[in-house]
């Protein structure tokens, strides 16, 4: 049987089972709303989901599917961690925080846990990392395979292995949190400060002020951001040594300015929606000044969309830094950075087919990036959901 035919047969089988599932459900529960109001598509979805689950189980038991097995194990471990963390949050803490945890979905509690772990790693990197980030450990081979299994080239003293210069990968990962995440956070904050200030001013003042800044932002947004950043970073790398300012400072400002254009757009749009409200008119007629209007009337009503954007923007900034580092103009060696780590070890991915553990080395840093991005988005989704009052 060709694969197309077998897929078709499977789909038809699922369709039939779904119909039976709904029909039998309706017959056995008579007028209960669950089966009565169930559209056929939902029934199909249930059965398809069930089939996918069985397929996953089968794949999990196959010998060759190493990465899939790791993914499932990781997923389960993270789910359990998130679940335990939520239980912990429900028991410990103030009344308000306990209430928050009671209505929290698992995704959000996992996201918060992950962010806390990253923040902890970033703050206490010097204490918890076994070695320095640029420490080339004497008498230890380079490129030790992660996993600590001597049979395939591992070393139990270095559970995540070493890189091409013999530096401990675990330590570099931990320091990477400090460098990459810390710098990304600072950059995002700066981008928001710039973007929100001008965005709200544009919304309140309107007229020529709005026109000038909006058009300027349009021009900046018309240039592809990564290429623009690359260009500016290249220029900055010449200036930095002359001026004696670290290149990282240039990078923070450049990325913040480029990303603030997006924040400006959002802040202006949100601001425009708020300034037409009657309560703003009431405040204007009361004779309130610009500062009161922006900080007391507009900002509190704009926090929900801005927070959501903050989460997303943080991910983008973070990825931009990793990309720039990967391209060689971002965070400079010997500082540990996840983007650089991926680039340095990238060639090991070629071993994935026959030595999965060797290929894991570059994936560790990539995984750290991915995990934080997912976690931040989970938390942002949850916050958006709460503030918008969406029910479904």
């Amino acid at each position: 049987m060709s694969p197309i035919v077998s897929v078709l047969v499977a789909l038809i089988a699922i369709a039939v089972v779904a119909w039976l599932f709904r029909f039998l459900g309706q017959a056995s529960t008579s007028n209960a709303p669950f089966f009565r109001d169930m559209p056929y598509a939902s029934a199909f979805g249930y059965i398809l989901g069930g089939a996918a689950l069985m397929g996953g189980l089968w794949l999990y038991l196959q010998d060759g599917a190493v990465f899939f097995r790791w993914a499932v194990q990781g997923f389960a471990a993270f789910a359990v961690a998130g679940w335990l963390f939520r239980i912990f949050g429900r028991v410990v803490g103030t009344q308000g925080s306990r209430k928050l945890f009671r209505s929290m979905p698992l995704t959000a509690s996992f996201g918060i846990l992950t962010i806390l772990v990253y923040a902890f790693a970033a703050v206490f990197a010097g204490v918890i990392a076994p070695y320095g980030q640029d420490e080339i450990i004497q008498g230890v081979a380079a490129n030790i395979v992660p996993g600590g299994d001597p049979a395939i080239g591992g070393n139990p003293d270095f559970p995540l292995g070493t890189d091409q210069l013999g530096r401990d990968l675990l330590s570099r990962l931990i320091y990477g949190a400090q460098n990459t995440v810390g710098i990304a956070f600072a950059t995002t904050c700066l981008a928001f400060f710039i973007g929100c200030t001008f965005g709200f001013l544009s919304a309140v003042l309107q007229g020529w002020f709005d026109q000038i800044f909006s058009r300027a932002v349009d021009v900046l947004m018309a240039i592809p951001s990564l290429i623009f950043a690359l260009l500016l970073m290249t220029i900055a790398s010449v200036w930095a040594p002359q001026l004696g300012i670290p290149l990282t400072a240039f990078m923070v400002v450049i990325i913040a300015v480029i990303d603030s254009t997006r924040v400006y757009r959002l802040a202006r749009a949100v601001g425009y929606n708020i300034v037409v409200m009657d309560y703003i008119e009431a405040a204007k007629l009361r004779g309130e000044g610009l500062g009161y209007l922006i900080f007391k009337e507009i900002l509190p009503n704009a926090t929900a969309p801005l927070l959501a954007e903050f989460g997303l923007r943080f991910c983008f900034v973070f990825l931009t830094i990793a990309s720039l580092s990967f391209l060689g103009v971002g965070i400079q060696p010997p500082l540990a950075d996840w983007g650089t780590m991926v680039r340095d070890l990238a060639q090991f991915v070629n071993f994935a087919a026959f030595a999965p553990q060797v290929a894991a080395a570059p994936l560790l840093a990539a995984g750290a990036i991915a995990l934080l991005t997912v976690a931040v988005n989970f938390v942002v989704d949850w916050m958006l959901h709460r503030s918008s009052g969406l029910k479904s």
Binding site: P33, R36, M277, Y279, G287, P300
Partner: protein, 547 residues
């Protein structure tokens, strides 16, 4: 008469905060062929939910938990999607409150009209289009041959509502559900739509459920009335009997709402300086004048009602007084002093003296600021009170608007009902200790019982504090209950002004007369008599155009 629709013990639940809460708690409903049933109640009574349930439909997040809905022998609760698809649009049709939001703006009206008949294989597209023109003519739409080829935004609100009624009629259904079809319309437009709906329902002997909160409207339309309160039925009776002899206390209280009326105050001392004087104001949005040479005075302790339909310029006049829209010609005097035209040039005291209360309390209060702070801000800003003094003043104000200070001080606007929000709006205006308050349609978004409470409060405060009100409204019943003087506006001009007694006594200006005669009364024969008296062509917008 045979029963068309039979609802028994209907219970509907809605999901919120992770639990199912009852919306309808077991209501029965019977509807015979060709009968019109009026469903009335305040907001939250479950009228619309009932109306939709009659089609076997519930909104997202709601479900029918118990009971049966039987349409012509078909069980709609357990019907499959195919069965419902065959019924809806063809045998059961729905007319929504806002026609403007219900038409698809991207398609011509006639294309939307012919969709249902062709889908249900009732008529071909051509037949249906011809039929549409026939229906438009019956509904007295202007240019019936041509109007269908316009897009929804090219047609006025009242015409669109009639086009939607025609669309509901397109398959000649047995049952139409009208969900507040005239609530968003001006009185002169409303009367045309009412006459059209009634005629077409009679012509085709269609059964209808007419949902509204306006008793006078339902009196014209319905054979029978059912009163709902928070998901329970209060009572059901024939229209005449229900109007003449309501049984339940709640129904009686609904009927009694329109009884609040203030006595006419003595004539004004014309030599006294008015608090606010609008002098020959002409104002424009861009290059188009929307106010033409408007003048009127508001004296101390008086309420001047500014009446007119949407687009008549009554809110624009308020914007000129507050300085949000500086007049092009003319000026505003306050206590005999000429005010700077723009609010930006006025000093703090000038701003303090004139306050405003808004129509939509939802948008007038900052949703992120607590009640105490909302009222406290003007106290601090104008009077310079802080700490304990501020708190005490806010408590006094809350007591003045009849809300318990300790309970409401820390609440957010979302934790209040509509009427309470409107009271907070009043308190915020009072906090500035003004002489003059503009009330912009303050009761039009509220249920009648709640609105009456607001009117009584405003009247009480006026007596206590000798306030002057400019009361903008389109509702003549409100004018009757609260105004001392009335200014009638049309197309940016003052048509007529005088004391309330003068205004409600003939002779009137023809436009005032038309406005007055278009307000539905609680008499079931009112619309019939009016049509007999004036003829179909001399009511509503058609009559306005002739002026």
């Amino acid at each position: 008469m045979s029963t068309l629709l039979k609802i028994r013990g209907l219970k509907i639940e809605g999901r919120s905060d992770e639990t199912w809460n009852p919306i309808i708690n077991g209501v029965d409903l019977d509807l015979a062929k060709g009968e019109v049933l009026g469903l009335i109640g305040e907001s939250g009574a479950g009228k619309s939910t009932m109306g939709l349930a009659a089609m076997g439909y519930t909104r997202d997040g709601c479900r029918i938990s118990e009971g049966s809905v039987e349409f012509d022998g078909i069980d709609l609760v357990n019907a499959s999607a195919d069965v419902k698809r065959d019924l809806l649009g063809k045998r059961i049709a729905y007319v929504a409150q806002s026609a403007a939001a219900s038409f698809n703006p991207a398609h011509k009206i006639i294309d939307q009209h012919t969709e249902a008949p062709t889908q249900h294989n009732v008529m071909s597209k051509g037949e249906s289009a011809d039929d549409a023109m026939d229906l438009y003519e019956r509904l007295r739409l202007p240019n019936p041959q041509e109007i269908g080829f316009r897009y929804p935004h090219q047609v006025s609100g009242g015409q669109l509502q009639r086009a939607m009624t025609a669309m509901a009629m397109s398959c000649r259904p047995d049952l139409i559900i009208f969900d507040e079809p005239t609530t968003a319309l001006d009185v002169t437009t409303q009367i045309e739509v009412l006459a059209a709906i009634r005629k077409i329902v009679e012509d085709f002997d269609t059964a209808a459920i007419y949902i509204t909160h306006d008793l006078a409207v339902v009196a014209q339309m319905a054979d029978r009335i059912k009163v709902l309160l928070r998901g329970d039925e209060v009572e059901t009776a024939e229209t005449r009997e229900m109007l003449a002899n309501p049984q339940e206390d709640y129904t009686k209280s609904l009927w009694a709402v329109r009884s609040f009326q203030r006595p006419q105050k003595p004539a004004i001392n014309t030599s006294a300086t008015p608090v606010v004087s609008v002098r020959n104001v002409t104002a424009a949005y861009g290059k188009i004048d929307v106010l033409h040479d408007v003048s009127f005075d508001i004296h101390a302790g008086r309420t001047v009602a500014v009446v007119g339909e949407s687009g008549s310029g009554k809110s624009t006049a308020a914007r000129c007084i507050t300085g949000l829209l500086p007049p092009r010609i003319g000026h505003i005097e306050f206590d005999g002093q000429t005010l700077p035209l723009s609010y930006k040039q006025r000093n703090k005291d000038q701003l303090r003296q004139a306050q405003m209360i808004y129509q939509m309390a939802d948008t007038a209060l900052n949703p992120r600021v607590s009640i105490g702070e909302t009222i406290g801000r003007p106290v601090q800003f104008y009077m310079g009170l802080t700490g304990k003094d501020k708190r005490k003043r806010v408590n006094d104000l809350l007591e003045q608007i009849e809300l318990e200070p300790t309970e409401y001080f820390n609440r957010l606007p979302s934790e209040l009902s509509g009427g309470q929000k409107q009271r907070i709006g009043i308190a915020r205006a009072l906090a500035a200790e003004p002489k003059f308050i503009i009330c912009d349609e303050v009761t039009s978004a509220l249920d009648q019982l709640v609105a009456e409470g607001i009117l009584r409060l405003l009247a009480k405060l006026q007596d206590e504090l000798n306030l002057s009100y400019m009361f903008i409204t389109h509702d003549l019943a409100t004018v009757k209950s609260i105004a001392d003087e009335v200014v009638v506006m049309k197309d940016g001009k003052v048509v007529e002004q005088g004391s309330k007694d003068q205004m409600f006594q003939p002779p009137h200006h023809p436009y005032t007369d038309l406005l007055l005669s278009s307000v539905p009364e609680m008499d079931p024969d009112w619309l019939t008599n009016l049509l007999d008296q004036r003829g179909v062509d001399n009511i509503g917008d058609a009559a306005v155009k002739k002026m």
